[in-house]
């Protein structure tokens, strides 16, 4: 494990929302320059409750509601960062981050570079993302590939409450702009991939044991969530749990790597694993063409070519907008992952 425990204190069981809330609470208590802002994040505490209680505890100038303008939220956060604050803006759904693209891509990501570090953008953009919740076209998207393509930004995606808190604290403390995408399908429990079976809660998951105090999970470090010999599976967010459950059901000795940070990528862990297993499956919810899986595939091919015993496979969302009623045919669930694993392992 790569986490750095500092003043972690007692451990308690949290779901992912509670862990994210705790991360902001811890950072607002430690650093008066940390402010949280966004649509409905203040008095109401956020549409997913991620900022619940923060305004009551830290006041309206530290946790506040904003007008409905993503351009404004991002631009204002950048200006606050230039002043010396450490803003944590929320975009209510990642599907609504596009109005803020110019501020993110042209401004936050380039500010340090273009000013030769005269000005920086130490901001952490939180946004719920991903499908599996009947969210249809504009409450299900996984836009990470748009941002991993932008130089100057880090992209982080947790898969457990423990990682969510530790990574979010690390992101807030980081002096570079960080996009922190929260897989909303697993806010309340790890998803096994079977939409027609009862939902699980975080209650019996080891990743739900979360220290109450301050700790970091280092950015840029992947986590091997299941060691194995037969195949390396690269995934992140909700898919970590869908993959783990599918592998268990199929009885395959797969090595599952939760990337946790997409940029900068933990290439060493990936390379070491694929060289060991000789096979690689990449799984993400985002659409296929030019998705982050394409970069992963290229990296593995370039670094592990002589160790590969089968073509690298990708199980991803299809190249369509996210459908509503046809969600479970779209979602990269156990059937699609299982089919790809059988193909990779057939000889």
């Amino acid at each position: 494990m790569t986490e750095m425990v500092t003043e972690a204190g007692a451990t308690t069981q949290m779901n992912m929302i509670q862990a994210i809330n705790s991360a902001m609470d811890v950072m607002m208590a430690r650093d008066p320059n940390v402010v949280v802002m966004g649509e409905d994040v203040g008095y109401f505490g956020g549409v997913f409750r991620a900022t619940a209680g923060l305004q009551a505890k830290y006041g309206k100038t530290r946790a506040f509601d904003t007008p409905i303008t993503e351009i404004g939220i991002m631009g204002v956060a950048i200006g606050m960062g230039a002043y010396g604050l450490r803003p944590v803006p929320e975009i209510q759904f990642a599907d609504y981050i596009y109005p803020a693209l110019d501020q993110l891509v042209s401004e936050a990501a380039r500010l340090r570079y273009r000013s030769a570090a005269d000005f920086t953008a130490p901001i952490t953009i939180r946004s719920p993302y991903g499908g599996g919740i009947f969210g249809g076209q504009t409450h299900s998207q996984s836009p990470e590939g748009i941002f991993t393509h932008v130089s100057g930004m880090k992209t982080v995606i947790p898969s457990t409450p423990y990682d969510a808190k530790g990574l979010l604290i690390a992101a807030i403390e980081d002096n570079d702009p960080v996009l922190f995408l929260e897989p909303k399908r697993i806010y309340n429990g790890p998803f096994h991939g079977h939409y027609d079976r009862p939902a699980k809660t975080w209650a019996d998951h080891p990743g739900a044991q979360v220290p109450e105090g301050h700790y970091r999970v280092e950015l840029g470090k992947a986590s091997v969530v299941r060691p194995g010999e037969a195949v390396t599976i690269l995934c992140y967010g909700t898919m970590v749990h869908v993959v783990a459950n599918t592998v268990e059901e199929m009885g395959i000795d797969a090595e599952i790597i939760d990337l946790r940070t997409l940029v900068p990528l933990d290439i060493e862990t990936i390379e070491e694993s694929v060289k060991k297993t000789g096979r690689c499956l990449i799984v993400h919810e985002a659409t296929r063409t030019s998705g982050f899986g394409a970069e992963l595939s290229a990296q593995v091919q370039e670094r592990c070519f002589y160790h590969l015993e089968a073509p690298i496979e990708r199980v991803t969302g299809f190249d369509t907008p996210y459908p509503h009623s046809l969600e479970w045919a779209y979602f990269p669930g156990p059937v699609r992952i299982g089919t790809a694993l059988k193909k990779i392992l057939k000889d």
Binding site: G75, I78, A82, R114, K154
Partner: protein, 414 residues
């Protein structure tokens, strides 16, 4: 009923036409009232349609917006404006001589940046567009450093990463200029909100052209500013032209840019942008409102872009060559000069001597800057520095690309 007809705006004068601006209503200097800074923004809507002017046609400073600055302050503004113009001339020529790739002049708009910068405190943060070089000059930023940036040479403070004129200086309260228009508007609001949240006394000011008011950032910024009563001054430099598009394409046929403020509940002023004393007075008034928690002010500076948009632009291709001379508000340097002469605080001889001195200063500075290299002549930043500053520390993938580039250069014998 007749069929619908789409209205596509058209400027009044195109190449070959005789420019005639006699229909522009220029209210007499001194005629516009100056509300108390504590007055509600909705009690002086007419100011968004008027024109705050201090200097009359005879060079007198008149009316309630005349702050009776002392002669030294006026001479300092005159000097900064003249230096800005001399700098622009020299750098424009440097681009034509192939010493750099690009330049943008601010000719005719010097009062906008210098009048405002003179009225702000030196630690107020400016979020400029690319045509407010006068702010840096007013604040005493070294012009050799500006030239080093323009030449992208080995002494370039921005390490050769930025297009010429996209300056940045935190020390001088000049926010990093972006090529993406109007993005600085919400950023200036955020800076002002942070200052207010921290109980600071500093305010921010931001500038964009009238063309950029059409960007979504403009609307977002004004909304945020009014919601939180942010201590920010919005400056819209209405120089009539956005490259080849006249101001009608930003909505000027229907209303003024200052009047945009009314719908947001923000104080709006429309100012003679070629009158340095009016710009100074408007900025001072807006700054006082901001500092006393009265919130944001939007100032439209009514002016004229006397030259091309940039070194890559030829204005004779889309507008009448006679426009700059026909412009009814004259030249900002000439107007302040005549005012000082009228006061007996200046004369033609001193002005000519100052012009000569400034030309020599710029020339000597250029010589100094060129010792550090000009664009494309080898005296640039080290190649490997390209990978620095993307992140606070260089991640493995950039380190790898950096090494690959160095290896390729070495193998190629470079």
């Amino acid at each position: 009923m007749p069929p619908l007809a789409l209205h596509v705006p058209e400027p009044r004068f195109r190449p070959g036409d005789e420019a005639d601006f006699s229909d522009i209503v220029v209210p007499p200097a001194g005629a516009t009232r100056r509300p108390d800074t504590a007055d509600r923004a909705d009690s002086f809507h007419e100011l968004a349609y008027g024109l705050v002017r201090v200097l009359d046609d005879e060079g007198n400073a008149v009316g309630p917006w005349d702050l009776r600055l002392d002669a030294d302050a006026k001479r300092r503004m005159l000097r900064a404006m003249a230096l800005t113009r001399a700098f622009d001339e020299r750098m424009f020529r440097a681009q034509r001589q192939g010493k750099t790739s690009f330049y943008m002049k601010s000719t005719g708009e010097e009062a906008v940046s210098i009048g405002a910068a003179s009225a702000l405190a030196s630690d107020d943060m400016c979020f400029p567009s690319y045509r407010q070089q006068g702010i840096l000059i007013t604040r005493g930023y070294p012009i050799v450093s500006m030239m080093n940036q323009i030449y992208s040479n080995k002494a370039d403070p921005l390490e050769g990463r930025q297009l010429p004129i996209m300056y940045s200086s935190k020390e001088y309260g000049f926010f990093s200029i972006s090529g993406n228009l109007a993005t600085q508007y919400p950023q200036a609001v955020g800076w002002a909100m942070a200052s207010a949240a921290k109980g600071d006394t500093r305010i921010s000011a931001t500038w964009c052209g009238e063309g950029s008011t059409a960007e979504g950032d403009f609307h977002s910024a004004l909304t945020f500013a009014t919601v939180y009563k942010a201590p920010v001054i919005f400056n819209v430099v209405n120089n009539q032209w956005a490259i080849s598009s006249f101001s009608g394409f930003a909505g000027a046929e229907a209303t003024t840019f200052a009047a945009r403020a009314i719908g947001y509940g923000i104080a709006g002023l429309r100012v003679d942008g070629n009158d340095a004393l009016a710009v100074y007075a408007a900025t001072q008034w807006a700054a006082e409102r901001a500092r006393t928690n009265q919130g944001p002010t939007l100032i439209e500076h009514f002016t004229y872009r006397a030259e091309g948009h940039s070194t890559s632009d030829d204005p004779t291709a889309y507008r009448s060559a006679g426009e700059p001379n026909a412009w009814p508000l004259g030249d900002p340097i000439r107007r302040l000069k005549e005012h000082l002469i009228k006061l007996g605080e200046w004369d033609e001889e001193r002005h000519a001597a100052q012009d000569l001195e400034l030309a020599e200063l710029v020339k000597a500075s250029q010589k100094e800057a060129e010792k550090n290299g000009i664009l494309g002549h080898g005296m640039h930043q080290p190649f490997e520095s390209m990978f620095e500053g993307v992140f606070e520390t260089i991640p493995w993938h950039l380190r790898e690309q950096q090494q690959q580039m160095l290896d390729e250069q070495k193998a190629a014998g470079l």
